[in-house]
Amino acid sequence: MAKPTVVVVGADKGGVGKTTVARTLLDYFTAHHLPTRAFDTESPRGTLRRFHPDISEIVDATSVSDQMRIFDTLSTTDASVTVIDVRAGLLSPMLRSLRDIGFLDAVKKGQLNFAVFHILGSSIASLNEIEETAAFAADGRYILVKNFINDTNFFEWDQATHASYFRKFKDAVEISVPKLNEMAFEQVELASVPFLTFVANKGPKGESANYSFVLRGYVRHWLSNVWSEYDRIKITDIVSSGGVASGPRVQVVGRS
């Protein structure tokens, strides 16, 4: 059996698109046939769970009993990948907790795979967050995500400042999530289905839907670009190291 993999998606700032990125990851793992479960820490009302109800649970990341639900089950669950969508402001505390419970030691010993997707905002404060967060991901993979989906302009990042920060974290990789057509994004929100399900023109229960072909096309194109970024950094290698070999590139396809 493959080593369990934990993927944490978070940021200390709110509204930077953490859940959107988590949703694209769940779609990506589904398309690669990697058994995946997700935890939504937007307790008590989860956003991620609305889109992926079959594989996600809402948890309170600050409660010990919920931390046990996530981490004590890593070796017993059927899912080889666990994605945790961390609520705004909880990324650093959660990573500290992972250190305190010995999770990061297990990663260091090679018993677990670990990746942090740190979603960056446009401000310098986001760059300051990197320093703190990166230290916890030293033995896993640290992925910095510039998310343009909500039209973020990384205007405060002049090239020199950007370079000075990134030089410090040689193992960090950077990916960009492009903007998605606003109306398409809104329609997926209304449909409350995974992006992949929307592209395939299906409803929440797998029934045929009647979404606009234009909007589905925009989502397919966007998701394909996001997945190209995941392919570029070889996510499947991260989640399958020590276990299943990564497969060929999977394309976003969907027909009505």
Partner: protein, 244 residues
């Protein structure tokens, strides 16, 4: 098996080279042959085609997503009609960009709709480059239109059709007299052709020549499809009368 329904896209990246006139002629030609036809006018500022055919042609502005849905979703929803787009030079780039991004061409083919770009040529090098780029980018059928009113000599090297046997569609030069007649607001090519009380006029002859070009083109299109489905033997080449 029934042939796919054509979707004619009358296009050019430049203004004032007769796109709307050609779209008018083609629409009336389709109606004359009693085929269900519907048109879309993508000239948001001056939807001249939609104004002439208010019951057949819909003006659409594809500048925003809502307009794009209005156009592309409707095109896919109607595989039974022959559809026609009068693509103004303004939305030219955006139209083909959206078409590529949303994956319209494979979906149209899956629904048995055959997009055919009728590209109005002119003497500008930029137009020829645009034609070549589009042909490389999009797996649609491309056929050049030689509008003699816009360009007297046509260089076939600059505007090769998707298959050699498709040739080109030639729109004969208009005399000022003919132009004055057909530009009248309520003028109908078919209605005019039906009335020949005093014998055929120059206008009759001009319309007849254009319809003949359309008929020949459709025939060669059909023969091209049949020959490719039968294993690739090419249809006889069209005799283009004004090729250099």
């Amino acid at each position: 098996m029934a042939q796919p329904a054509p979707l004619y896209i009358v296009a050019s990246p430049r203004p004032r080279n007769g796109k709307t006139l050609i779209a008018r002629l083609l629409l009336e030609f389709l109606r004359q042959s009693r085929r269900p036809a519907v048109g879309y006018d993508l000239n948001p500022r001056e939807p001249a085609l939609a104004e002439r055919f208010p019951k057949l042609v819909w003006p659409v502005d594809i500048a925003d997503t809502r307009g794009q849905m209005e156009l592309f979703d409707r095109l896919l929803a109607d595989p039974a009609s022959t559809q026609l787009i009068d693509l103004g030079y303004g939305p030219f780039d955006q139209f083909f960009a959206v078409m590529g991004e949303i994956g319209f061409l494979p979906e149209a083919r899956r629904r048995r709709i055959e997009p055919i770009v009728l590209f109005v040529a002119d003497s500008s090098g930029a137009t020829a480059r645009s034609y070549a780029q589009l042909q490389r980018r999009l797996a649609a059928t491309f056929v050049p239109i030689h509008n003699e009113h816009v360009m007297l000599m046509f260089d076939k090297e600059d505007f090769p059709p998707t298959r050699p046997e498709y040739g080109l569609i030639r729109i004969p030069r208009l005399s000022p007299l003919v132009r004055g007649v057909i530009d009248r607001p309520n003028f109908s090519f078919n209605a005019y052709m039906a009335k020949q009380a005093g014998g055929p006029t120059e206008v009759h002859q001009w319309i007849g020549n254009v319809y003949h070009e359309f008929r020949e083109f459709e025939l060669h299109l059909l023969m091209g499809k049949l020959s490719s489905s039968l294993g690739g033997a090419t249809a006889p080449k069209r005799q283009s009368r004004r090729l250099r």
